[in-house]
Amino acid sequence: MSTTTTNEPATVYTPSADALGAVLAREARPPRAGAWSASLTFGWRAILKIKHVPEQLFDVTAFPIIMTLMFTYLFGGALAGSTREYLQFLLPGIMVTSVVMITMYTGVGLNTDIEKGVFDRFRTLPVWRPAALVGMIFGDVLRYVLAATTIMVVGLVLGFRPGGGVIGVLAGIGLLVVFSFAFSWIWTMFGLFLRSEKSVMGVSMLVLFPLTFLSNVFVDPGTMPGWLQGFVEVNPITHVVAAVRALMAGDWDTGETMWVLAASAVLLLVFGPLTMRLYNRKGAR
């Protein structure tokens, strides 16, 4: 029997039959928590985790700032004649890139979280099954909003002037967050499916790099060779960027916006159930 290091209070705990008996009394149980309420409660857990481990906000603040500064000053002069002009084109795109990149942490976080015993407890609770994962992604949505806001503030400071005004900017961020929420389910699937945090990272990078760079984020696709334009055309990121750019510029593009909403619905309907299937079978190893 190993002796554990204790930092117990000086008064030694002696279980009291009376006190324990009182908590064990079988009172009428409350009605079951609803799906929405359970998801929100899990979302609260995600926020508490941010509160206790604030370092995890580094990747939603520092990373986007670096991305914005780097690309604006690196390419601005060469691509658009001036950094300020390039920023008008780049900012919505770099915002999409950063937030979509951050979605991969959903998978990484789930992968580390699920290896701990607490998920066993969650899975034995009589609540709506997807709640634990939905709540987790709710927490992540908060991170997406934070990242988008950070970039917007940096952009405004550097001289970004959105033609769509406050409404346009909010609508753009809103659309991006909706898409990212749906997109996250790809990573929850990988988070459950792959063995380690590192492999989740690896797969995410493999998918995200081509997806974000081979798009209309950084340059006008018109300058690309034909075959590459073909890929850029079908790349969902291109459509998200086009829609967000239009919203922020104030010329609402119904076609692209609908495309993004439809893509979000498809992602959610495909990867949501796949994720839940894996989640229910988790532990079968």
Partner: protein, 323 residues
């Protein structure tokens, strides 16, 4: 209340080639502690995970309070609670936050959840640590918050998977006291353990499990009777007297005596007596015989058969991994 708390027949769970649970038939009555005793890797945890609806069995049936663990998993979940082998609360959160979180998930309102959390923390002696992250708790405190979380809505069946492994003796005693109170209030407890001693103290019935199979089942008394009653350990003052002591013990106890690598130690089974008193009598006669012969004894003890000995007796072989 008519169906047993747990009833399994021919239950199988395989992982590839490994038959972790290999045809288990078990009946656990209401309102008792039922012990699952076995070494690491015997299949105890897998069995518990199947019963707690965390794993789907590959064959056979398992019912909890008459409900099938696969087809009626939700009905089972509303009556059971699991305290896993590893921390089953969120280590990043404080004690209060963990309990409020679970209370909310179980349907309590905000206010009721806070009250319930405070009440539980008080009863488990964790009020002072309520605002601290669980990762900063000691081993004993962590186990207590685990159990507190498991009885948030007093469950009808509580799974405790090796609740005292790695705890210091004082914390282990606290856990034992808590388990006794929990059972006294009508909750059935399925307890897995590697320690015969623990199963003996707490459980009304024990199933000994090895390689996924139940190799013996019964009350602690009947199990001990079936495997012999105890072991005498002797330490002599003078190594030179060991051959004589060994001869004496062999005669008095009527069993073979093992002389280990320690030059002053001797170990022997205290007869094949079928009751505790029989073993004690044998042991006291042995001690008297040693004293009469003028052999100086530094230490003399009668211990329960160890898990090793239980397995030796039940399987005629050495278990590979008894911790």
């Amino acid at each position: 209340m008519s169906a047993p708390a747990i009833e399994t027949s021919g239950l199988v769970k395989t992982f590839g080639d490994n038959r972790a649970v290999d045809g288990v038939d078990l009946t656990v009555p209401h309102g008792t502690v039922y012990g699952l005793l076995g070494p690491n890797g015997a299949g105890k945890t897998t069995l518990v995970r199947v019963l707690a609806t965390l794993l789907r069995p590959d064959g056979g049936q398992a019912r909890v309070f008459g409900r099938d663990v696969v087809r009626e998993a939700d009905a089972v979940r509303s009556r059971v609670s699991l305290t896993g082998q590893y921390a089953s609360v969120d280590e990043d959160l404080t004690g209060t936050e963990n309990l409020v979180l679970l209370a909310r998930l179980l349907g309590h309102g905000k206010r009721a959840a806070r009250d319930r959390a405070a009440q539980l923390l008080e009863a488990f002696g964790l009020t002072d640590a309520a605002g601290r992250q669980v990762k900063k708790y000691s081993g004993g405190m962590r186990r207590r918050i685990d159990i507190a979380a498991s009885i948030l809505n007093t469950p009808d069946l509580l799974f405790l998977d090796e609740p005292t492994t790695g705890l210091d003796p004082r914390s282990r005693n606290q856990v034992w006291d808590i388990i006794r109170v929990v059972v006294a209030h009508g909750t059935t407890v399925l307890l897995t353990t590697q320690y015969l001693d623990e199963a003996d103290r707490l459980a009304g019935r024990i199933a000994v499990i090895d390689h996924g199979k139940v190799i013996a089942e019964g009350t602690p008394g009947s199990l001990k009777a079936s495997i012999g009653s105890g072991t005498v350990h002797v330490r002599l003052r003078d190594a030179a007297q060991r051959p004589e002591a060994e001869r004496l013990l062999t005669t008095v106890l009527g069993t073979s005596v093992q002389a280990g690598t320690d030059p002053v130690a001797l170990t022997a089974r205290a007869g094949s007596a079928d009751s505790e008193r029989g073993a004690a009598e044998h042991a006291s006669r042995a001690l008297a015989a040693l004293a009469d012969a003028g052999i100086l004894v530094d230490d003399f003890s009668l211990g329960q058969p160890s898990l090793d000995e239980v397995f030796l007796a039940l399987t005629d072989r050495k278990p590979e991994a008894v911790a």
